[in-house]
Amino acid sequence: MLSSDADSVYWMSRYLERAGNIARFLDVNWHLTLDVPGEYTEQWKPLVITTGDQNDFKARYAEENEENVIYFLTADPNNPNSILSCLRMARQNAIRIRDIIPTEMWESLNILYHYVQDGCKRPKSILSDPNVFCSEVKWRNLTIGGIAAEIMANDESWRFFSMGKLLERADKTSRILDVKYYMLLPSLSHVGTTLDTVQWAALLKAVSGFQAFRHTYGRIVPELVAEFMILDHDFPRSILYCLTEAQHCLHDITGTRIGYFTNPAELQMGQICAGLSYHTIEEIFEQGLHEFIDDLQIRINVLGKAVFDTFFSRVPAIEQTQDN
């Protein structure tokens, strides 16, 4: 496929996934505040840290309260990672590949974009009930995922779509875990209390993993939550699961056997997956969870750049003429 089309499919997918993730953890957090008595503004600060935009936020907003954080994450056109901005970018990419993605996918994305754009013209309606807004973003996103699974041919464009989605998801799961784990741990006075359990459950719900965790582990124990979110083999939003699947997509695109590399993307991907696959959670804690995740995020960024150099950059392609 065209390098430029692969680029657009990949980024459309990443931006969609990013919008869905923001909607998911924003919604969970809002529900959580309903359970927490009194003023609890501390609850909103980690959300901004999770998206990695705390500097931008601090420069433009005075206080990390509910109203500001929700506006910043949903409707703020100047925040490149707000739901509005993500969907705008997803749609701009989709327009470029409207000829190759299923019509149903384009229409769903288009309808979602117009829904979000309309909602963001009246931010008060989002603030008064973020759940309605976030649910629509979440459900439409799931619909688009369903269309990808049910209608798209499992060809190169589908693999770039999947790879973009999986890399974005691995990154977001790692950020949510990183930020929330340390917010929750020090509250020793809460250990074993109802509030404590509710908060850990909320962390799992933010990655739609609460039910799956219950089935696998039963009781909520912080170390097990971390293990589940990083290393679980079956949960589709665990970091290891996402990266392993992304590696399959990558090698399906190139035709190289897993275990070998022929380009920078495969090299970076192989290093990340090998590091994750053959580690226990105990070893990760020994290294330090935060240090581990920090390192992982840097590696995912390097991988993103390698994917660009390998497939999307139009410049070096000229050396490898291929007859048709």
Partner: protein, 481 residues
Amino acid sequence: MDSVLNFDSYDTGPFYDEMFLGPGKPRPGTRLLMEKLRSLSQHELFARQAAAEKAFFDMGITFAVYGDEQGTEKIFPFDIVPRIIESNEWKMLEKGLKQRIFALNLFLNDIYHDQKIIKDKVVPKDIVETSAGYFPECHGLNPPLGVWSHITGTDLVRDEHGAFYVLEDNLRSPSGVSYVLANRQILKRTFPLAFSASRVRSVDNYPSMLLDMLYSIAPSTPNKPNVVLLTPGVFNSAYYEHSFLAQQTGITLVEGADLVVHEGYVHMRTTRGLFRVDVIYRRIGEDFLDPKVFRKDSLLGVPGIMEIYRQGRIALANAPGTGVADDKAVYSYVPSIIKYYLDEDPIIPNIPTYICREKDHLDHVLKNLDKLVVKAANESGGYGMLVGPASTKKERDEFAEKIRSDPRNYIAQPTIALSRCPVIVDDHFEGRHVDFRPYILYGQDIQVIPGGLTRVALKKGSLVVNSSQGGGSKDTWVLYE
């Protein structure tokens, strides 16, 4: 009870009405549709119009409102009452269009080779050579199958007696066919029963016909030809159409930057390296096609592509240089062109045209500006045009000045009282002027898609149907015998 939108007060006026023979008397082919419209309550009709508009919006068949920072988008105006063409009329049009396209292709081939028609003094040399669509760089080109204009969208109008005329030949890269298909898709949902009972010919085969035509002009290749559609990009006003046609035919939508000339062939840049391209359906003007040959400042094209084309290693549809045949001054010679190459009279006549470069024509035009429509020979889209009867004295004076300073660039025609179709206006029907653009494909043979784009001037009394000037569109039903 809900009120019904009826035609009791519908006034056909002094015009040919596409739907009515006279007040209250529908034409035979429109009877079933009329019955359907009469059976619908006002509420239901409005609901169907709204559903059709929502479908266009959701499908993203929209344009961005200029200067709106919130990114508001609008659909192109669309009226759900279709325009109907009966089979006997269609047969005549089909024959006439084939005749015209056949002759114009012979003309193009002659102009870029021996110029016999100029030597025989049928078309003046300077008319050809001063046309903005004439490119000397195209001399000696031999497009596959000898066809230059593979895709044509000819504009037709009807006068108050119902006679069809050719208004304009569009042989460069006519747009609008995606709306023919989208309008049809929506209208089938809007009036399913009336549609099936009326026995309407299908237009859905257009993408297959287009693909066959594009394959038919491919240079020989051991594999399936690789066909691409070259677009100027997402900001082009016809971008939706480009992506729609690529999607429907499965060909790859590319921009100039996706293509490169390498080792004697045109290639596209893929995730696995360069991949050879055999056929380009180009939707960029030839002046932008190759900065080495045409406009040096073009960033939309592919440097070096013309040399590959000259060597026959890539096919282009339409061929570069076709614009000379749809120049509005050359237009006035088309009846002679048909006579010269085919020894036939034109089946669909031209509108009588005054060419301002001829002294006696110029004098007549300047004296009768209030009665004529004056057009710039090299413009389209309803720009650079004066509709005499609707103009002010000041506008006429300004236009007279323009004509005097560059007579070659202007032609004038009598104002045709275009035929009308009913459209929904608030709570009733009113007649509005329409034109018609059928689409013609030319590969192994010439095919006319049984349908086309009916454009309608939605402003009361207006004769300008272009979407840039307040025009909308309608579905067009060509009926079986």
